[in-house]
């Protein structure tokens, strides 16, 4: 196995071991999805039409993004607090690979989180969700998770440098799932927010998921003049292109941030 992959796997394994060693996983993976789904269904309770998917997607995105911020931010803060961050950074492997391993673990948690939201919506709240193309639905969901996790990598680089991760985490949690159109169509948001929405990979991912579920959403997407399969393909291409750009940015940011941390001495808890 190549060195980088081994480090990513090892960081992934360590994150999973910690996840299961700490019963707190119940909060983000069971309790939080339940709350998110309840909030989303309450918001849509007076709506007409197939609101169930918006509610489930909205709740799922809330959980997924919350998980990403937790994994990339709080996990690094924990490493700093327990004194392992500087031990990890003193090792010859790249910190980016370690954080990427954590992000993969986050993607796995995110999947379970979304599944929990789906099950809670269907089994507890009796929401009827019909999906046109289940395979495409699952594929676009997984790709969106990758995009969200890669976006998390960019924020993680800031968390390495800053000791005020709690403020950043809280400040970033709500905007993403509103701006990405997870909860309601972007068309409802002020026009000046649209450019921000379109540089977020998850915006295109959520669009693709929705279209895979039902083609009646086509009229609400960016690709109104295209057929549904082309629209999904374009959504995925846009999302992956943006995700690759995120990955490139993360590589550069981690180099810069690692050097700054070594100059400023911010790896340990003050």
């Amino acid at each position: 196995m190549p060195e980088a992959l081994r480090v990513i796997y090892s960081a992934f394994r360590m994150a999973m071991l910690h996840w299961f060693a700490d019963p707190q996983w119940v909060i983000p993976n069971i309790i939080a999805p339940f709350i998110f789904t309840s909030v989303a269904l309450t918001l849509f309770k007076d709506s007409t039409g197939p609101f169930g998917l918006y509610a489930v997607l909205g709740g799922g995105m809330m959980g997924m993004w919350g998980n990403t911020l937790y994994a990339s931010g709080f996990a690094i803060e924990m490493e700093r607090w327990q004194g392992t961050l500087e031990e990890v950074m003193a090792a010859p492997s790249k910190l980016l690979h370690v954080v990427a391993g954590r992000s993969v673990s986050n993607a796995v948690f995110g999947l379970t989180n979304m599944l929990a939201v789906f099950l809670i919506a269907v089994l507890v709240f009796r929401v009827q969700i019909e999906v046109d193309d289940p395979l495409l639905f699952v594929t676009t969901t997984v790709l969106t998770l990758v995009s969200v996790s890669t976006l998390g990598l960019i924020f993680a680089s800031a968390f390495v440098l800053s000791r005020s991760t709690q403020v950043l985490t809280n400040g970033l949690e709500t905007p993403l799932y509103i701006i990405s159109g997870s909860m309601f169509p972007i068309a409802l948001l002020p026009f000046w927010i649209h450019p921000i929405a379109y540089v977020l990979g998850p915006t295109w991912g959520v669009d693709a998921i929705r279209l895979a579920a039902s083609q009646e959403y086509l009229s609400q997407t960016f690709w109104q003049g295209f057929d549904v399969n082309t629209a999904i393909l374009l959504d995925v291409v846009m999302m992956m292109a943006i995700t690759l750009a995120y990955a490139g940015m993360a590589v550069v940011l981690f180099k810069v941030v690692e050097k700054r941390a070594r100059i400023k001495g911010t790896l340990v808890e003050a």
């Binding site: 960081a11 392992t84 031990e87 090792a91 492997s93 050097k259 001495g265």
Partner: protein, 333 residues
């Protein structure tokens, strides 16, 4: 910063070469009115360490020992100066340095306490690029060497301080390093475990490892180190063999005063006396011990009694200075 991919420069034949290393931290305070302040942690530090040597960096808390070690281990970038470790420049070739060294920062922190010792070591083995065929065998060997194998699968949070320290040591050896940096490896340990730790350090030197050890205990440096650099306020004030450090106190005798009610104010008065070279104090709750170094020896007793007239004096002794006194002289006044 990119790495040069250069070959090691071993022309010096030294394991470590530190040349005029300095580190200044800039701290910013306030949100609206931002004020910057600078802290000089290390100032113009130079020394060399031979291959196979156990070199000590000795100094009180806050003297700059850890900052120096962190610059040499590439965890910090120096403000000025240059360092080569095993022939590699610590700034330009930091990955090569990291691959070849072990670091033991010690203490209660720095371990994943929710998982087992095996999982801790396996993780760091992967981060240090230890091949899978070697990794598990080495993890077992290290845990056996450190006497932790019986508890290897238990969560680290259930370990005692001494066990955690031994796990730190095992982690520092996971990549079979040529050079090991030990930052205060016995701090906070009870005497028996500290003695065990020192024994392990000796065994590592016998195995041919080069070690740079920081400590603020003179006796530890004396027991372990071939040479010692004494660091005070970020500067090296002496570099010699432990016994060679005694030359710094050949001009003095030690007046040891044991009493009760001795205050900081009285200690300050001693420091102001021109004939006093250094004063160290152990201010216990029930008894205080002052060590006053002076070339005048017993001639100073009347002045001692005068300054301490408000306190109770139990005993006054005139002693020949020890290595500990040499260290105190270097770091105190």
């Amino acid at each position: 910063m990119g790495e040069t991919g250069s070959q090691p420069d071993n022309a010096s034949g030294k394991a470590i070469v530190a040349e005029h290393l300095s580190k200044i931290f800039t701290r910013t305070k306030g949100t609206v009115r931002r004020t910057k302040s600078q802290i000089v942690a290390v100032k113009d530090v130079s020394f060399e360490v031979d291959y196979g040597e156990l070199f000590g960096l000795l100094g009180p808390n806050g003297a700059g020992k850890t900052t120096t070690i962190k610059m040499l281990t590439t965890m910090l970038i120096q403000t000025s100066g240059k360092a080569t470790v095993l022939g590699y420049d610590t700034q330009k070739d930091f990955t090569k340095v990291r691959q070849r060294i072990g670091i033991v920062l010690g203490g209660e922190r720095g371990l994943y306490t929710r998982v087992s010792a095996i999982d801790n070591l396996r993780y760091f083995a992967d981060l240090y690029g230890v091949s899978p065929s070697v990794r598990d065998k080495r993890v077992k060997e290290l845990l056996q060497f450190m006497g932790l194998w019986d508890r290897a699968r238990d969560r680290v949070e259930t370990y005692s301080k001494g066990m955690k320290q031994r796990l730190h040591l095992a982690r520092g050896l996971i990549n079979d390093p040529e050079l090991i940096f030990l930052d205060e490896p016995t701090i906070g340990l009870d005497p028996e475990i500290a003695r065990e730790t020192r024994q392990m350090v000796k065994e590592l030197v016998e195995k041919g490892k080069t070690i740079l050890l920081t400590t603020h205990y003179m006796f530890e440096a004396d027991e372990l180190c071939k040479r010692v650099a004494v660091i005070r306020n970020g500067e090296i004030v002496a570099l010699d063999t432990p016994s060679g450090l005694k030359k710094y106190v050949t001009d003095a005798r030690v007046v040891e005063v044991e009493g009760f009610g001795i205050t900081e104010k009285e200690i300050a008065k001693f420091r102001e006396l021109p004939e006093v070279l250094s004063v160290s104090a152990d201010l216990g709750e029930n008894k205080q011990i002052l060590k006053i170094q002076t070339p005048k020896g017993s001639e100073i007793i009347s002045e001692v009694q005068e300054i301490l007239k408000g306190s109770r004096i139990y005993d006054i002794k005139i002693k020949e200075p020890t290595l500990e006194d040499a260290y105190l002289r270097l770091v105190e006044k």
